[in-house]
């Protein structure tokens, strides 16, 4: 089921103190098939100099945690547009904790109601980027968060 492709490398580190590029997993949680936004983010982050791994559609929390671990990413970004982000993130939080992955910078984007921000933050989501967020803003946030 798992599909992982390393889609780009960069010659120039995006952040001066680091010697290796920041690695980002962009994943599509649950059954939602809206992937236009996720793919735009993948391309945008690649152009911004990150190494990006795209999961493809229909990932379970278990699959996302496993990919994050195996690919040793710095950032986990979920793109959700069909409303099932909260139950997904609750389960993913448990898995990240169990596997010692809670140091990853965790981002959620897409169709995310403001009413859900507080719970997502509590679960450990570092950045929430609802539809309309700008690519530069996301890239900047990642650079600031990843030490």
């Amino acid at each position: 089921m798992k599909q992982v492709n390393i889609t780009a490398t960069t010659t120039e580190p995006p952040c001066r103190p680091r010697t290796v590029p920041i690695r980002v997993l962009i994943a599509k949680p649950g059954l939602d098939g809206h992937d236009q936004g996720a793919k735009v983010i993948v391309r945008g982050l690649m152009d911004a100099g990150f190494e990006v791994i795209y999961s493809g559609l229909r990932q379970t929390p278990e699959a996302v945690a496993r990919m994050a671990q195996e690919e040793d990413v710095d950032v986990i970004g979920l793109s959700s547009l069909a409303g099932s982000h909260l139950p997904f993130c609750r389960r993913l939080r448990d898995l990240l904790q169990t596997h010692g992955l809670d140091d990853k910078v965790w981002l959620v984007g897409g169709n995310i109601p403001a009413a859900d921000f507080a719970e997502l933050k509590e679960l450990g989501v570092a950045g929430i980027f609802p539809s309309g967020a700008r690519l530069a803003e996301i890239a900047q946030f990642i650079r600031e968060q990843v030490k």
Binding site: G33, V40, N111
Partner: protein, 539 residues
Amino acid sequence: MNAPRDARAAPDVPVVNESGIEIAPVYTAEDVAASGGADMIGRPGEYPFTRGIHAEMYRRQPWTMRQYTGFADARRTNERFKYLIANGQTGLNVAFDLPTQIGLDSDDPLAAGEVGRVGTAVDTLRDFEIAFDGIDLDRITVSLTINGAAAILIAMYLVMAEKRGFDLRRLRGTAQNDILKEFIGRGTWIFPVEPSVKLVVDTIEYCARNAPKYTPVSVCGYHIRESGANPVQEMAYAFCIARAYADGALARGLDIDEFAGRLSFNFNIYGNIFEQVAKFRAGRGLWARIMKEEYGAKDPHSMWLRMIAGGGGSGLVAEQPELNIVRGAYYALIGALSGAQTMALCCYDEAYTIPSEYAQRIALRTMQLLVEEMGLCDTVDPLAGSWYVETLTNQMRHSMEEIIAGVDARGGIARLVADGAIQAEVSAQAYARQKKLESGEIRKVGVNCYRMQEEAREPEFHPYDEVAAQAQIAGLNRIRADRDQLAVDTALQRVSADARSGSNVMPAIMDAVRAYASVGEITARLVEVFGRFREPIRF
């Protein structure tokens, strides 16, 4: 960033539409002649149908209004259907939840948290019996927005109608059932590309022989456009897909005129008004010509570009959401000026949530207002004869032909979808568009110009109903306990056997549905034989 646009300040910068066609400041008859002349214009209701598939279009009957609806369970969806019909809606467009769309039962572990969330949950025939209870299937035509699991849900619809005494030979209705575009956008595929196309062809063949008025396929440029395609690609790729299905049906020994009249289309209507109108006019002429010249169709019905025009999720934004009502009104105007037979409008709150009843009513009233107050139904193809629109129609038709030829030269649409080439192409365009939106090159009111400090104010959200989800699962368990399990097992064995032998699986699926086999059970049998699609990831 909030400065108003002043294009006149830079008169030398070319104006190019989304389809890549440069727009002149003024058009004359010479432009029409230079772009190919007036040969393809004709009269409405006559080949090549550029001006409309019917001679009188809306004078005889305004477009069918078919809002996309469905949530929670069959009972509540039935209530919403009746509400829309009571408010003057003339067709239904059923939304299914994601587990149903990808062939999972409501009690599948992968369905947890998704049951009834973005559409109505369907497990067995019982759900269809409840959802359509009391709805006159002769008067209200029903469109099923289902793709991966379409063969099963079409069977459910036919069996439900049959049990209620409707004659299948007269039954009308539509299923979306366009799996090739699901691989490009929307993503509710189940099986690999080849068996997926085979299943679509099975439904076409079955309906042509048993339910000849039923429209088994609605080929969707709409979602290809939503994924990043421009208007000419939207229509050209849709035609490539329709040709792939038609080729499959011909290979079954059907005559083109036995099924082509029941192929329909679904297109998007957001964007530049004149480009959109020209797109529809160009597409009608081109499809008629493809059917007549390439496929040898003789029946004019086979040459008709029958379509629903939908406007247009990607055009709507979360900022200043009331503006989406205004956008919707312009989209409906485009649809009306384009001669769409059926229309659906995305609701103003749809950028956030499943539309509220209130938002649904505004969308419906928007279309009714055009019919009742604005004179849109008085004459057919009112923009015909505009030098601009006729030139653009010719140019866009040529572009579509080039794109189709290109797809053919690269091995055909099924192959390009299977290896992810089309997906990579449209997603690169979506990215380019996003960059232009961020740079302000593409203007979006409320997003990159005329922004406002908005109070945190969002439309009412459609909450997830865990109680309804549990009730759905309980209902499925009751059916499993009550049904004749021997009949179910026998029918499912036949589904497996027919899938394995390469026969048309529809008769076996009809029997399985009659025995109250579930969507998940039937899908599992097909997956055993066909396997699952593995998404190609290409950037």
